[in-house]
């Protein structure tokens, strides 16, 4: 995808590259070609899709960069999470659940966006310094907040 091996990324450049690659690789271009070429086009174009979606979002991008270093967030209970943090998550989740107006939900959405932006910066710094443990802990926090962001979106749709 011709990306720099950094966490911060130019989303426009990524999108341009994605469209450029798909223009060349897409199965539509190979309708008249041999079966081998068609199969190649299908698999390559699917790979490009996967690469694009992985790199586009900070969370999946960060997790992928960890994976390249042989690290991942383990399934199961977060033994390292402190109670304060979990309590905060619980409260935000409850607030989303109980939000009565789109404004209330929006407010939480904005707060969450701010937290995600802050986490993105800190993850970038950690990955630059090759502090992988820190990056992993921050990505875990990001996952919780990304879930909240999704719930806010869901909530806002209910108001529509």
């Amino acid at each position: 995808m011709a990306c720099d091996h950094t966490f911060t990324l130019d989303a426009h450049k990524l999108q341009r590259r994605y469209l450029q690659l798909q223009r060349a690789l897409h199965p539509d271009n190979f309708g008249q070609k041999s079966v081998t070429e068609q199969e190649f086009s299908e698999s390559q174009s699917a790979l490009v899709n996967k690469a694009y979606t992985t790199l586009l979002k900070p969370l999946s991008r960060g997790l992928y960069m960890l994976e390249l270093q042989g690290m991942r967030i383990e399934e199961g209970t977060d033994s390292g999470a402190d109670t304060e943090f979990l309590l905060e998550l619980m409260e935000i989740n409850e607030a989303v659940d109980e939000a009565q107006t789109p404004e209330e939900a929006n407010k939480i959405g904005q707060d969450t966006k701010g937290k995600l932006a802050d986490l993105t910066e800190r993850i970038d710094a950690a990955l630059r310094e090759a502090e992988l443990q820190t990056a992993r802990a921050l990505l875990a926090q990001m996952k919780y907040h990304a879930n909240i962001e999704e719930k806010v979106k869901e909530k806002l749709r209910e108001f529509m």
Partner: protein, 165 residues
């Protein structure tokens, strides 16, 4: 074939965003009916007074899926769990696991409650292997609640000793 791929090309971007916007359309397709039952009619949802000495609160999270679970128990003077409540923000399996966990701990002694295993919860709900960690989260929540309760009781004991000394 050509028509299909043409449509794919036009909507590949769209599809991605739509998938993000519309999570799990219909849980009935993927989950066992017991999970759906506990998901749709969760038992014991709510909160107990976390400052009460007779209440133990367990707060756990699963970073890989971003689920958070709170499970609380109320213990009477005989050491029996008389009430249990939970609040879980997560997938259907996590909700169902914590719902069933609250049902099971009620009426048990602390020691018996500690014997509840995630594998029993998973078996009861027929959770598929990829969802086993959800029942693990429920087991860990029970343990966390019990240890919070014990800690509170110890503190109470210590204050009593200090007060009498």
């Amino acid at each position: 074939m050509a028509a299909v791929s043409l449509r794919n090309s036009a909507t590949s971007l769209l599809l991605f965003s739509r998938r993000l916007l519309v999570p799990s359309l219909n849980p009935v397709c993927f989950y066992h009916k017991k999970v759906v039952d506990h998901y749709e009619n969760p038992r014991n949802v709510g909160s107990l007074d976390k400052n009460s000495k007779s209440v133990g609160t367990g707060l756990v999270g699963a970073p890989a899926c971003g689920d958070v679970m709170k499970l609380q128990i109320q213990v009477d003077e005989n050491g029996k769990i008389v009430d249990a409540k939970f609040k879980t923000f997560g997938c259907g399996s996590a909700i169902a696991s914590s719902s069933i966990a609250t049902e099971w701990v009620k009426g048990k002694s602390i020691d018996d409650a500690l014997k509840i295993k995630n594998t029993d919860i998973a078996k009861e709900l027929c959770l598929p292997p990829v969802k086993l960690h959800c029942s693990m989260l429920a087991e860990d929540a029970i343990r966390a609640a019990l240890s919070d309760y014990r800690l509170k009781q110890q503190d109470k004991e210590e204050t009593r000793v200090k007060a009498s000394g």
